[in-house]
Amino acid sequence: MALLEVSDLRTSFYTRGGVVRAVDGVSFTLDKGETLGIVGESGSGKSVTCYSLMKLIPEPPGRIESGTAIFDGQDLLRMSARDLRKVRGNRISMIFQDPMTSLNPYLRISTQLIEALRIHRDIDKKAALNKAIAALEEVGIPGASSRVHQYPHEFSGGMRQRVMIAMALITEPDLLIADEPTTALDVTVQAQILDIIKERQERLGTAVILVTHDLGVVAGTCDKVNVMYGGKLMESGTAEQVFYDPIHPYTRSLQKTIPSLQTKGADLYTIPGLPPDVSKPINGCAFYPRCPYPKVAQPEGERPQLVENGDGHCFADCRFCDSSAPIESVLPKHDAGDVDTAQDIREGEGAA
């Protein structure tokens, strides 16, 4: 049986500008010890998906409209606040994007590290502190026994993210949700952090959901990949399938943006246009306006559902573009030096 089974998750935000359908019918499963990557551009709904699972969406304005998230037999979305607190930090932990703001600057590292242990385990302070020191050592923080008493501002960004990892894993949860854990970090540290997550995961047998906008990171780390766009899944399958044999035009475009896969010296590719505005109704296909493939029909009606291509490889079946055209001929060349491009270079290298 799957550890986590999410089906038809829908989360919206009710803003003055309209209803933002941030997550619009997402389903996936995750087995014990497995790593799932969720990839997409900013605003694709990948982080909101994770926050919804933990019910960390601020309500209002946010609202989980429908769906179930069965975790070990229980629906996370319909749990009482009390029961949910027993799951959070205990069986499901989370790491956030920005380690500089995700640790409480007013409390010692030790206090923050042992907090989850003290809540979820029957353990005295002394033993908890020893576990905390061990946890810091395991994520490679030198001098852990003295540094554990320091405050977050005495740590660098990379070190803080290590602390976050140690904190999230101290209760040995079944599932770790990592929301862009390397985005805010220096390129030199990004790979280290990913290695630590991977190493800890293998040791503890934890399942991981890794949210990222970097397809390169996914390729090296994940078993399965979900590609999200405009609040919906565009493609899902094993990392190999999605990475080496993408079907959906969006995934193919994403693949093209990985700098290390592009010809040296050539201009870097970026996907033209902007992500869709999900506060407005989307007709047919969210990617249509940016799709590089020859357009064969006007987009209309419901957005395409995922169909399976045999062996578990799913993709949104788009009828509005001719995705059988050879990709090299349809992808336009782009100027390098774009802000986005520069960022991609950084992240691509960090992951490599």
Partner: protein, 305 residues
């Protein structure tokens, strides 16, 4: 920390000296003298009086004498209230004001901070709107409206409390309320703002993701940082309570310090003005030092310099 306090106290002494000088020369530069009254005094008698108080000497010399006296705790006689030294006046009225002021400040904190916390935690509910509107109204009503109103309601209509005089513990309640409510309103607004800033931080989300309960998030994770704006306001609040006490003391007929601030200034009582200014500044200096110490204790990113 000992070093920090010593250094700050020495600095404070310098500040006091500077304030003494500023006040002295401001007062000296103001036209008129403490002895110019409506009654016609024969010039030679006026000269005698002025000589008695040392006003016949040049300003510079007077300043030096004055400072050296002040350093010995002698602020000279009251130039207007015969036979009373400034030190006497302060010794007599300061304890009264201290009692009233500390009660008012305590009340302001005890009322304002919890209200601010609740308003922040229950943001955009009636527990937020009602206290915040009431506190804004409190900030907008002058003390001399609030005081008589409280006296009218609690003293004259319900006859619960005495409305004038200074004889026992029950006499301090209405004045302390009058003085404290205004600052309670201020503290409530500052605490609400500080707590909201904390509650919207990313690390609150981290704590939630760890399974921390909402009440622990408020008390353990947010209170320290959320109190900082209110703590910072303690210095100005104390200054305000001291000078604001004049109104309250007048309304409730209390023999405190506030009245002397005004009487001293109204009568050009130079020595009294100097003595009171130094006392006021000393209180502010000490309060600011305390505030700094508390801030370092609350915020680990600050260090004793």
């Amino acid at each position: 920390m000992f070093r920090f306090v010593t250094v700050r106290l020495l600095q404070g002494l310098l500040v006091l000296l500077a304030i003494y000088a500023v006040t002295f020369f401001l007062v000296a530069a103001t036209p008129g003298s403490p002895f110019s009254t409506e009654r016609a005094i024969r010039p030679e008698i006026l000269a005698q009086i002025e000589a008695f108080y040392g006003y016949d000497k040049p300003v510079g010399e007077r300043f030096v004498t004055s400072v050296s006296n002040a350093l010995r705790g002698e602020f000279g006689p009251s130039a207007v209230y015969a036979n009373r030294s400034v030190t006497d006046i302060i010794a007599e009225s300061f304890p009264v004001s201290l009692k009233l002021g500390s009660l008012a400040l305590g009340l302001a904190l005890a009322l304002g901070i919890p209200v601010g916390i609740i308003a922040a935690v229950r943001q955009n509910s009636w527990l937020d709107y009602v206290p915040m509107s009431v506190s804004m109204a409190g900030i907008c009503l002058p003390t001399f409206v609030m005081g008589p109103l409280l006296a009218l309601i609690f003293g004259l209509i319900f006859e619960l409390l005495p409305v004038a005089g200074w004889f026992g513990p029950e006499y301090v309640i209405l004045p302390a309320l009058t003085l404290g409510l205004y600052y309670a309103a201020y503290f409530a607004r500052l605490t609400r703002g500080g707590m909201l800033e904390m509650l919207n931080q990313d690390w609150v989300r981290t704590a939630r993701a760890k399974g921390v309960s909402e009440s622990t998030i408020v008390w353990k994770h947010c209170l320290k940082g959320g109190l900082i704006p209110a703590i910072t306001f303690l210095g100005p609040a104390l200054a305000g309570i001291i000078s604001g006490s004049f109104v309250v003391e007048t309304i409730f007929q209390i023999p405190g310090l506030g009245q002397w601030f005004v009487k001293g200034a109204l009568n050009r009582d130079d020595f009294l003005i100097l003595g009171l200014t130094v006392l006021f500044a000393a209180l502010i200096v000490v309060m600011n030092l305390l505030v700094d110490i508390v801030q370092v204790a609350l915020n680990p990113r600050l260090k004793y310099e």
